[in-house]
């Protein structure tokens, strides 16, 4: 039996799906397997050797000895790159186990054909050919392990393995919780709660949030409504956005964040992002919008430092066409502390509950589609529904806007929550709808049951058995009937769905991913954060040396990120003896800080 047959038979036992993919994988066209001086097989991709052309085993031995020094073999490790598997074989024989990430299943095939990797197959899982974003999200726990890169694999796969490895290191740095992030809120609209959720998640992860609360100027947008002509209001609002954008610059100058995070609709103009870039502060823009509906990404994406969106291939192509390559898919998610299971009173169930509910705005496709559900006990909550239509009897609170907390109650109280992604063009389920709306995650986070229209990106986010989906009215009606009669079935799906959201689709996870991407892509940010983290950890370690400082810090709500004013406010003069630390803070309070100390 040759190596390939032996290895594959083992793999088939351990991971039949992968075995199938490997079998189906074509030979790696650009990978040349040839003989090394030692007589063992080696491989190269174009000019880059994956293993030594002289003695691959010896090279692997040295690499593993260097990398594995101080790593506990009992802990699973994550290996970046398989190559022909020399280093993996070395690791396996040293008692290590874990997961190997490889970009190209054909490389795995070549490895399995070249060496006896039975011990590797026994001790390691292999992730081959998965989209990078899926690895980051679905397999995030892999990055908590010791990271062992195969240097040559990183060289031949810089955009996949190289990036993933940098990402993994950045994720670890981010988890030290030492980033300063200026969060630019939109003035109003659907992204505003998302911005607030991001800020909360950042804080929960230990980072410092510098809020830029554009919503404080929401009155300006209200004022714009007093103009008679739409053109006047538009022009006024543009001025307001420009003013706020200047404010972002000033705030950044005063506070020197590591990065600026702007949510869709945030008032940050391209020229401001250019200035921030000059200041060494990259801007992450999270475009939580459908790019086919709102075109302003054409101005924003090229101007920001890194663009995040909720759509994949189609959008990536469009962005590439205008020269934007710094783009990452970052789907929407839920705030698990807000969207949560509630135990409701019978009164609340009566007020908010229904066998079939929908919460959302009255987009065209919903207006059309929901007419086919009017024979159900159906409640529709939300705004922008036509005043006179066959749906009128079902619309709650005369079409008033529904606040978040009420949404949570409705989701919890309803047997079936309908979730139909909006569309202004089709009259039901959008046939080519790709992104997944926040509602999907929010209903699931509540532990509530939903029927959601099928979306192109949904299968990557939820596994079968975690959500119930439909493709048209007929299927929807069939499932409504089925699940209304099957409470345990609803409950099982809701429970699985919630677990998936808590594990992978919370704001905390998204923010971790966004920050790790930024830290990985901007070495200056990484250096700054590393320096700060080390500095603060050193100072914490020497606290005993500073008389009165531990006591003063104990009074701070968050000792990691307290401000000078917090420290000073906690000091009472004229009562008892001041500690040395208190005196020093009072000295600092009296050092005049001038504008010139905040260089542009």
């Amino acid at each position: 039996m040759n190596h390939f047959a032996r290895n594959m038979s083992l793999l088939d036992r351990r991971n039949p799906q992968l075995a199938k993919r490997i079998t189906a994988a074509a030979d790696p066209a650009a990978l040349a397997v040839e003989s090394a001086r030692s007589g063992e097989p080696t491989a190269r991709r174009r000019d880059v050797y994956l293993h030594s052309p002289y003695d691959p085993s010896r090279e692997a031995d040295e690499t593993v000895r260097r990398q594995a020094a101080g790593v506990d073999a009992a802990r699973p490790v994550t290996v970046f790159g398989l190559g022909l598997g020399y280093h993996a074989r070395q690791l396996a024989s040293a008692g290590f186990s874990g997961t190997i990430i490889e970009e190209d299943p054909a490389v795995v095939r070549a490895a399995l054909a070249s060496l006896d990797l039975s011990e590797v197959v026994e001790r390691f899982d292999i992730l081959a050919g998965l989209p990078a974003d899926l690895v980051r999200r679905r397999h995030a726990p892999l990055f908590d392990r010791p990271l062992l890169p195969h240097p040559a694999s990183l060289r031949v796969s810089p955009d996949y393995l190289g990036r993933l490895h940098r990402y993994a290191e950045a994720l670890l740095l981010g988890r030290r919780g030492k980033l300063k992030v200026l969060v630019v809120d939109p003035i109003s609209g659907g992204s505003l709660p998302a911005a607030h959720h991001c800020s909360r998640a950042l804080r929960a992860l230990g980072h410092k949030v510098i809020p830029f609360e554009s919503e404080r100027l929401a009155a300006g947008m209200e004022f714009a409504k007093t103009f008679s002509f739409r053109e006047s209001a538009t022009s006024f609002n543009a001025g307001l956005a420009s003013l706020l954008s200047r404010g972002v610059e000033l705030k950044a100058r005063e506070t020197r964040p590591d990065i600026v995070l702007a949510l869709a609709q945030a008032p940050i103009l391209p020229e401001t992002m250019a200035k921030l870039d000059k200041m060494g502060i990259p801007t992450a823009f999270w475009f939580v919008e459908d790019f086919t509906v709102l075109p302003y990404w054409r101005d924003t994406a090229p101007a920001c430092s890194y663009f995040f969106g909720i759509q994949k291939e189609n959008f990536t192509r469009q962005l590439s066409a205008i020269g934007v390559t710094r783009y990452a898919y970052l789907p929407t998610c839920a705030a698990a502390d807000v969207h949560r299971p509630l135990s409701l009173t019978p009164g609340e169930r009566a007020e908010f509950g229904s066998p079939l509910s929908f919460v959302g705005a009255g987009y065209f496709n919903r207006q059309v589609f929901f007419k086919g559900l009017t024979d159900y006990p159906f409640r529709i909550w939300g705004s922008d529904w036509p005043l006179i239509s066959p749906l009128t009897p079902y619309i709650q609170r005369h079409g008033a806007r529904i606040d978040t907390e009420t949404c949570v109650r409705i989701f919890n109280a309803s047997a079936v929550n309908l979730n139909l992604h909006s569309s202004t063009t089709c009259d039901g389920v959008a046939p080519d709808g790709d992104f997944v709306n926040p509602r999907t995650f929010e209903i699931a986070a509540c532990g509530a049951f939903q029927l959601v229209d099928r979306r192109g990106l949904l299968p990557e986010l939820f596994e079968p058995g975690e959500l119930a989906t439909f493709g048209d009215l007929e299927e929807l009606r069939e499932k409504i009937d089925r699940y209304l009669a099957d409470e345990p079935g609803r409950q099982a799906l809701a429970t699985q769905g919630r677990e998936r959201v808590l594990a992978e689709h919370t704001y905390e996870r998204r923010i971790e991913e966004l920050l790790a991407t930024m830290v990985a892509e901007f070495p200056a940010v990484a250096a700054r954060v590393e320096k700060r983290a080390t500095y603060m950890e050193e100072l914490m370690a020497e606290l005993d040396r500073h008389e009165g400082l531990p006591e003063l810090l104990a009074r701070m709500p968050d000792r990691r990120w307290f401000e000078m004013r917090d420290a000073v406010a906690s000091i009472v003069t004229g009562k008892g003896e001041l500690t040395r630390a208190e005196k020093i803070f009072l000295m600092l309070q009296n050092v005049e800080v001038i504008w010139g100390a905040t260089p542009e």
């Binding site: 009296n590 800080v593 100390a597």
Partner: protein, 517 residues
């Protein structure tokens, strides 16, 4: 060996103004080791300042930067803590804090010294001012009452340090580098052997600058008399210089932005006179023995911070609001244009032209003063033109009063003050002495006669209030009333008798002042 520390987190001007204090300390304790605690932004001048032995330097600008931009207050904390360590490293016999800021009070509090004068924060963070001369500065420094001050800060610093003014100017020692720069500069601009007047156009704030048009006129008039003019200033004042030059018919020599501190001192020392706003350049002139014409604009006040030495001329606009307090952000700075250019031309003639006697009309409405040293070694100013005799007399009376009372050299006192304007005040002081004396007596009785003491306390409080009211009503009384209020605020905690004795001391001081005024 006596260890003396001087806390001077201050600008160039203040550091130059320290020199007579340093001189006095070395004269009194020749083997004293003097440590200067200074800010590094202004420490460049120390190479020229004689009379100290070592420095401890605060990088205040860096700390301000860390406060503004530091990732965490820890960064600034660590920097300041390092500096505090340096302050704590030695112990001193005497600490003289010439700085009036809250920062200096806390810095002073960590210095180990047997005696401290100036502002100090106590162990609870309460600020107290030690030394009557220290109290004196604080009684007017940030107040509209500053205009009543008659004693130059240099003399105040000197007395705060416990030494006597010696009737000599501030001093800086030129360096070889500065001298060679000046030689080369004069050569390069064909100024060797010429009579030069230096013009300092800028000041710390735009509202404190005499208009460039006036400087242009002054420069042209001087040049027409065969005097060469040189413009001084830092690089940031280049634009101002260009504006002035554009208005001049006869081009001056432009040294703006070209001089180091050392070069500036040496260049200034080659001038026959310097005309300046209230700036470091003016103090450089004083330190070089070069007569200066001080243009008193905004808060600039010759009696307070005028050039320290004999023979300087001060031009003070005759406006009721000048000098204004430092904190005023004036929307209509009429004082900027109140000194006519021709007045400065004539002020220069007073210095340069031995035959020129001058007339009031030569100076418009501007008051003209000339500095000199009094027999006791303090700086004093003589009114030359457009001054009010009664005001000048009052200034001299105040000068005498403060010197006598703050130094505790009060002569035999008359029953009643000669000046009717302070008789009521004097009576109030006597009443205060009586009441506090009675409280001291009662404090010795056991059990304490609480009701009686309370009644006396109420009467004493009423006197305190009346002192303040008198101060608000009368310009004659206000500096004294403010000083006494400052003394009262400075009384620390203590038992009844201690507080009563301290309060009686306030009334005694007030009585002495009213009587000697």
């Amino acid at each position: 060996m006596k260890e003396i520390a001087i806390l001077a987190i201050a600008r160039y001007g203040d550091l130059i103004q320290l020199s007579p204090l340093l001189r006095g300390l070395k004269r009194t304790w020749p083997d004293a080791r003097i440590t200067l605690i200074v800010e590094n932004r202004f420490s460049g001048i120390l190479t020229m300042l004689p009379g100290f032995d070592r420095t401890i330097v605060l990088d205040k600008k860096a700390i301000a930067g860390w406060i503004a931009l530091g990732d965490t207050p820890f960064v600034a904390y660590r920097q300041m803590e390092q500096f505090v360590r340096e302050l704590e490293a030695d112990s001193y016999d005497l600490l003289i804090n010439i700085t009036s800021s809250a920062l200096s009070a806390f810095l002073s509090s960590v210095v180990r010294a047997r005696e401290k004068v100036g502002i100090v924060a106590d162990s609870r963070g309460q600020k107290e001012i030690r030394g009557l001369w220290g109290l004196y500065v604080f009684s007017w420094f940030n107040d509209s009452l500053r205009k009543y001050n008659t004693i130059n800060l240099v003399d105040v610093f000197t007395r705060l340090g416990g030494v006597r003014p010696d009737g000599h100017r501030v001093e800086l020692t030129p360096t070889a580098a500065g001298e060679s720069f000046a030689d080369e500069f004069l050569m390069r601009h064909a100024l060797s052997g010429a009579r030069i007047v230096g013009l300092q156009l800028g000041a710390s704030e735009a509202n404190r600058c005499w208009p460039v048009e006036n400087f242009a006129h002054l420069s042209d008039r001087l040049q027409e008399q065969g005097i060469r003019t040189v413009l001084f200033g830092v690089a940031a004042e280049k634009e101002l210089a260009e504006k002035a030059k554009a208005l001049m018919r006869h081009p001056p020599v432009d040294a703006v932005g070209e001089t180091s501190l050392e070069g500036l001192l040496s260049l200034v020392s080659r001038c026959a006179a310097v005309v300046s706003n209230d700036t470091g350049t003016m103090h450089f002139a004083a330190a070089s023995g070069v007569p200066a014409v001080m243009l008193c604009i905004g808060p600039a006040f010759f009696r307070c911070t005028g050039p320290y030495g004999a023979g300087h001329v001060a031009l003070q606009p005759d406006l009721s609001c000048t000098p204004c307090p430092y904190y005023v952000d004036c929307s209509e700075p009429v004082c900027r244009t109140a000194i006519p250019a021709e007045a400065a031309v004539n002020a220069c003639r007073l210095i340069l032209d031995g035959d020129y006697r001058g007339r009031s009309a030569d100076f418009g409405d501007v008051r003209v003063y000339r500095s000199g040293f009094a027999p006791d070694g303090f700086l004093t100013w003589e009114g030359l033109f457009n001054t009010d005799e009664a005001e000048e007399t009052l200034a001299r009376r105040r000068e005498r009063m403060w010197k006598l009372c703050l130094d505790g050299e009060v002569p035999a006192l008359p029953e009643e003050p000669e000046d009717e304007g302070v008789r009521d005040f004097h009576r109030l002081m006597a009443e205060g002495i009586g009441i506090t004396g009675r409280i001291i007596e009662l404090s010795r009785i056991a059990p304490l006669p609480v009701d009686q003491i309370r009644e006396l306390g109420s009467r004493e409080s009423a006197i305190e209030e009346e002192i303040k009211r008198m101060g608000y009503r009368s310009g004659l009384v206000s500096p004294i009333a403010n000083f006494l209020t400052m003394m009262r605020e400075n009384i620390g905690e203590g038992d009844l008798a201690t507080v009563a004795r301290a309060t009686r001391h306030i009334y005694e001081t007030g009585r002495n002042m009213a009587a000697t005024l």
